[in-house]
């Protein structure tokens, strides 16, 4: 069963013209809510949405192998701008791999992914997909912000330095300007007083909040969260989920791989259940989490809730 059977046929046909990196704004999606609201459960309304607005993410028949192990066995998915998608499923089901394919930390073996109309990782010439160069991949990764399970803050830099690293080194913005914005971001998550703290001096929850702001400082169009609360002590999970909740409310397009079912139920527009490299079931949170159709989904949800 596939999430968005229409995706493969109605995906963007050609790469979009290059945009100016610097002209992008983090929250330039005022109409995101409306688009998010016309979301299509399980991709059934996909064709209509296509005409309304360009989807933020289109994945078509994405396969990924690690040696002889097939991590992804054909993922089709489409998501609208402003949509919040939660991906759930047992470990080893390919959730993280799929997320990592979206910003090319892994390269898909077959199929293709478009982010905001741009073919990811390849340049299309006729029917041939040519791998992009290191510099082109780096530029393309600016479309997505990524938050990791293990935070991955730069250990040798303070909280503030972590956040301004990208804007200054990659986007070539002035240090003063980047610092000003970084301070605003830190204040937004209540960590302004931690600007000079090194990651080792921060709790897991604080590190993850800084990591989210580091990603946001690059003004991504899409935020990817790879089990952002799985490495946290239980009492620190809430502070990170709150930041993500606010981010979702601000209209950010988000894909969240998570085990926090209550978060998914509350914040997600759509929940995708993956198992053994396939999308087993997708739809509104109430449907997938409340009345799962597929026995594997039922089993998984029962196991997580018990």
């Amino acid at each position: 069963m596939r999430a968005a059977g229409v995706a493969a046929t109605c995906g963007p046909r050609s790469p979009q013209p290059k945009r100016e990196m610097t002209s992008r704004q983090a929250h330039d999606v005022p109409d995101a809510r409306e688009e998010g609201d016309q979301r299509h459960s399980g991709g059934r309304g996909g064709a209509e949405t296509m005409q309304a607005a360009r989807p933020m993410v289109v994945a078509a028949d994405v396969h990924k192998h690690f040696g002889s192990f097939a991590a992804l066995k054909g993922i089709d998915l489409e998501m609208a701008k402003g949509e919040v998608l939660c991906v759930i499923g047992p470990s080893g089901s390919g959730k993280s791999t799929f997320l990592r394919c979206i910003n090319q930390l892994e390269r898909a073996d077959r199929g293709a992914i478009w982010v905001d109309g741009e073919l990811i990782g390849f340049r299309r010439e006729g029917d041939a997909l040519h791998e992009l160069s290191d510099a082109e991949l780096a530029r393309q990764r600016l479309l997505c912000g990524m938050v990791f399970q293990r935070f991955n803050l730069f250990h040798h830099q303070t909280a503030l330095e972590n956040i301004i690293e990208g804007p200054v080194t990659v986007l070539r913005r002035s240090r003063a300007e980047a610092e000003k914005e970084a301070m605003a971001l830190l204040a937004r998550v209540g960590l302004a007083d931690k600007r000079d703290a090194y990651p080792i001096e921060l709790s897991g929850g604080q590190q993850q909040r800084v990591a989210i702001m580091r990603a946001l400082a690059m003004h991504p169009k899409l935020m990817l969260f790879d089990e952002p609360t799985s490495a946290l002590d239980p009492e620190l999970v809430g502070e990170v989920l709150n930041v993500m909740r606010d981010l979702a409310a601000s209209g950010m397009t988000m894909i969240v791989v998570t085990h926090e079912l209550s978060f998914a139920r509350e914040v997600a527009h759509r929940v995708v259940f993956m198992d053994e490299g396939r999308v087993v079931e997708a739809g509104a949170p109430g449907e997938v989490l409340g009345k799962p159709q597929h026995p594997r989904t039922r089993e998984f949800i029962a196991a997580v809730l018990s």
């Binding site: 780096a138 991955n152 080792i200």
Partner: protein, 290 residues
Amino acid sequence: MSATSPEFSTAHLRHVERRYYGRWIAASLILVAFAFVVQAFATGQIAWKVVGQFFTAKAILIGLENTIVMTICAMALGIVLGVLFAVMYMSPNPVLKNVARFYVWFFRGTPLLLQLLLWFNLALIFPVIGIPGVLEARTVDLITPFVATLLGLGINQGAYTAEVVRSGILSVDTGQTEAAKSIGMTQLVTLRRIVLPQAMRVIIPPVGNEVISMVKLTSVASVIQYSEILRNAQTIYYANARVIELLIVAAIWYLVVVTVLSIGQYFLERRFARGRGGRDVRAAQPAAEA
């Protein structure tokens, strides 16, 4: 506790430290032995006045300068080559990888003295070097003792440093690279901004150790007529036969230089331990407040 029974009352008890008699005996023996050694040197056939007299002799100071200059140049060359070959070693390109492997294998596998002699006698293989017809020079003119020593020590050092740098790079968690990629860094920028600064923590202690080795290794270059401190001391004692005195002068200078370098290493290590706790004072502060 004490309330339950007078038997468990602790108020009148005191702790008495254990006495380590063995430590006292060992320390006394060592001090006695040390006193003998000092006395032996004080009354031995060493003209300490001559040591003082030659300590700041011009030839010795020039030798000292040459030793320091060579240490800096050879180490700089070694580190540049080390980083370059470490990165090549880790490259997916099989040609680069194998060239790096060969380099490490060859220069670690042959004695330094032999390499120095090879460089010094390069003219025997290539009488003339350069681009034919454009820029040519007689090898004998080009390969001075300084150049031969620099090439010998620097290239040899690079082979060792490459391994140190490689282990440093491997010590940096792959999550750091992924995070760098995710904010749009290219591989080269990631290496320069994220990986190498963190690898430094692992690289600096062994490289510091190698700088200290290098100070002393320059003395090997005396065989190819590079006038470093030991060679100049020898030249003097060939003339005045004050062998031990001049060797002591050289030894003291080596110790001075190495001591200064060790202090520098301490501060450098502290700097690159940033954000890693341990020696970093700030990490001692309580971590979480949230």
